[in-house]
Amino acid sequence: MNGELLRDLVPAVIGVLVRRGADFASAEDAVQDALVDAVRGWPANPPRDPRGWLITVAWRRFLDAARADTSRRRREVRVEGEPVPGPVEAVDDTLQLYFLCAHPCLTPASSVALTLRAVGGLTTRQIARAYLVPEATMAQRISRAKRTVSGVRLNQPGAVATVLRVLYLVFNEGYSGDVDLAAEAIRLTRQLAARIDDEEVAGLLALMLLHHARRPARTSPDGRLVPLAEQDRSRWDRHLIAEGVEVLQQALARDRLGEFQTQAAIAALHADARTVEETDWRQIVEWYDELVRRTDSPVARLNRAVALGEADGPRTGLAALAGLDPALPRYAAVAAYLHERAGDPVTAARRYAEAARSAPSLPERDHLMRQAARLNSQPRS
């Protein structure tokens, strides 16, 4: 059994422990301990029933911890002895854990960390590495988050929208350490989509699949950023695209449009174009109109200006840009791009250099700096 399959079992096992009387924080710790045992013992001695094994070992770990902790003596009395068989699974424990870990009382960073541990089954060390913070810091963030939700009952329905925001945050973090957070976000969103019938869950899954499909083409072998227009489209993962499009179409057919479905539709239109020239910018603008109507997000407006520049020419794009706040992230980069297309390389070069200064990442900064250098070293008439 590989690590991912093992981690698939984590939320359900936590749920079983909680229904047997463990509190969430202790149950979660006990399951992490059991995971460590599994990683050590299973290669030599694989269990016939991995889920049953994990429940038994985690429960034993929980009892050991409860006994060792004298301040928990009262509860120890309550949980001592043979485990009470839980009721037949009327509620989906895994689903409840998604809601708990994305509870509105948590900050986004805490929700992300707790989701990756309790639903994703990652270790604190892995999560710390993925977010480039010391392990002690991440451990602290997780235990504070567990304390914050300690009063929340696990059987209350939560809001799907908050769960989706957390999963989207995980996906966007990409891959910086030894854990591929984008792939992990897809796994968790798939697992969620299998449990809940919701168009926006499908929309988010489609969005992730469609973006993930382009990942191999997004950086060159030497680590440079390759913009969409210059990507080698033969390196896009056609299987992921086909899956993303299918998931999206099924969601759209139900006619309950939402933000993630809209974003996925834009991604699907890009994925659908075999060359950059084939891109249906007209339709993309329409979807951005929809997105702006739904979210009123300045970022959506900025992206709409780019699409408009492609559909109706750079001057129209620049006119759309004029109404936006110049402090928006990537505003200068968009302005630079549109100015170059409009035949003004001097302004474009200045805006690219400006964009490089405030770039959100190093690969992006380097890319923008190259654009400025390219324009500045062109012979000018």
């Binding site: 250099a353 200064r357 900064r365 190259r370 250098a373 070293s377």
Partner: protein, 136 residues
């Protein structure tokens, strides 16, 4: 082993030996060569087991200070053109001060316009270490 900070500045420090144009005025190939050098420098330190951390800073930001009970902090920014401005750092863990200086010298030879070394001034600063188990 001892830890040192190699500090890069956007501006400030001793007068530059060569006054290079800003990077956006270089040719794309010169930019590439410079970026590749920086990347390789970090990779090489990792291979030798001497790299602790490398980070780059945006030139944006501000100075911030306390302004008394119940008042929001005072900010002073953006940074004025004449002031010293940190661009980023490498933290290295090396055998000696001499090794730290040697590495800073190599980093300062990063290529600029025409592929010539930029001779950039780097600030090398020892960390206060942890107390030794056996006091001398």
């Amino acid at each position: 082993m001892a830890k040192y900070l190699l500090l890069k500045h956007y501006r400030g420090g001793p007068a530059p030996t060569v006054d290079w144009a800003p990077m956006d005025q270089w040719t794309p190939d010169e930019v590439d060569a410079h970026l590749r050098f920086m990347h390789d420098f970090g990779a090489r330190l990792e291979e030798t087991g001497e790299l602790v951390d490398a980070q780059a800073l945006s030139p944006d930001g501000a100075f911030v200070r306390y302004d008394g009970e119940g008042r929001p902090p005072v900010t002073d920014g953006p940074f004025v053109e004449t002031k010293d401005l940190i661009a980023g750092w490498y933290i290295i863990d090396v055998e000696s001060w001499d090794r730290a200086v040697e590495l800073a010298g190599e980093l300062s030879a990063a290529p600029g316009p025409g592929g010539r070394p930029i001779h950039e001034w780097l600030e090398v600063r020892p960390f206060h270490g942890v107390p030794a188990a056996v006091p001398e």
